[in-house]
């Protein structure tokens, strides 16, 4: 029985200026490559300032997929979109460390909530006021 794996696509959700990708499927190389392209296209539209990749549904991250995730984050940053990878399972994190495959240069967070909070705290200064709403960080500037 052959299934058309090629059609599988990971959805990218837009939510208040952020792109959210939640990976809930076993990752094949093709799916990861397509995700990279889709994220690049989504970044290009210009209305996103942050990207969260939630990998809590991923039970295995091997060297190729890990590198692809890092590339995706670096690519998004080059396009002005900060990326936070979140939800790494403990067993996956331990395996990556043992393999010597950390995610250099990639911000990580425990879960989706914290990832979104981290992105909010990263918003560069000088953005329009509507984005600075929750900013307690201004008070230090006296």
């Amino acid at each position: 029985m052959v299934m058309m794996m090629e059609t599988q696509r990971i959805p990218i959700v837009r939510l208040s200026g952020k792109l959210i990708v939640s990976i809930q499927t076993a990752l094949s190389d093709t799916v990861v490559d397509r995700l990279q392209q889709d994220v690049a296209a989504a970044c290009e539209r210009g209305d996103a300032r942050g990207l969260v990749v939630d990998v809590s549904g991923v039970d295995v991250l091997d060297s190729y997929i890990t590198r692809s995730l890092r590339d995706l984050a670096v690519m998004a940053r080059l396009m002005g979109v900060e990326t936070v990878v979140c939800g790494l399972r403990p067993a996956v994190a331990m395996t990556l460390v043992e393999m010597g495959m950390e995610l250099p240069g990639v911000r990580t967070a425990l879960n989706l909530d914290r990832a979104l909070a981290l992105l909010d705290s990263l918003q560069p200064e000088g953005l329009p006021n509507d984005l600075a709403g929750e900013g307690d960080e201004w008070e230090g500037e006296a």
């Binding site: 190389d29 060297s63 590198r67």
Partner: protein, 226 residues
């Protein structure tokens, strides 16, 4: 339902909900003419055979279907009546030689990886060990697909004093001309085979690389339950 039937149910439960698993198992038992309350090992093969049609209906994802059937087949072979008892153990060839996954297309890498994880889980390995086994299988399967095109991954359990899992990845690809260099970390390939093999070596307890340029590569790894 006795303990032996419980083992079969445990495999089904990995892929299906509790009610579905139970109803599949009871209907298969009826067709196989066996009773789950007093199931004996020699009846497992006929029971497993009767599970096939139901699985085809309820397990939509081909990858999971194949893996579930492979695991069941493994249990069936291990319990086949013709197999002599433990006292006559032979090294590797004698008993069930595990599950073989041909690597021909990219999604076979995912399949091998999932199966590695399922088997490690079946053997009662911890989540971390399961993940390490699955990751190692994924690296080996990907190397086969990327460098040799086709090959085979064979996964089997290791019985004896130390319980564990053995994975053999075999291909007839171009081989590796300088394995020592690759494992040393000084070499970086385009897709990172070096990183993959080095990572695999660090994840497992035993690692054997046998490669002949122009003839192919065989990697044998073993991971024991912690």
């Amino acid at each position: 339902m006795n303990e032996i039937a419980g083992e079969i149910l445990a495999i089904l439960r990995r892929y299906l909900s509790e009610p579905t698993s139970r109803s599949l198992l009871t209907s298969a038992a009826r067709r196989a003419n066996v009773r789950l309350e007093v199931l004996v090992r020699s009846e497992i093969p006929q029971l497993v055979q009767q599970l096939g049609p139901g699985l085809n209906i309820f397990l939509q994802e081909p990858e999971k279907l194949q893996n579930c059937k492979s695991l069941l087949a493994l249990v069936a072979v291990e319990n086949a009546p013709s197999i002599p008892t433990e006292s006559q153990q032979q090294p590797s060839e004698g008993r069930a030689d595990g599950i073989s996954v041909p690597i021909r297309a990219e999604h076979d890498v995912v399949r091998a990886r999932t199966l590695g994880k399922d088997m490690a889980k079946q053997l009662g390995f911890s989540e971390v060990v399961q993940t390490k086994v699955a990751t190692a299988v994924s690296e080996l399967a990907r190397n086969i697909f990327q460098y040799a095109g086709t090959g085979e991954i064979r996964i089997r359990r290791i019985e004896g004093k130390r319980r564990g899992i053995e994975v053999v990845a075999r291909d007839q690809g171009p081989g590796i001309s300088d394995p020592a260099l690759i494992l040393s970390g000084a070499y970086r390939s385009k897709w990172g085979m070096g990183a993959g093999l080095r990572g695999t070596k660090r994840l497992v307890d035993e690692f054997e690389l046998d490669t002949h340029p122009g003839l192919g590569t065989t990697v044998r790894i073993r991971k024991y339950a912690e």
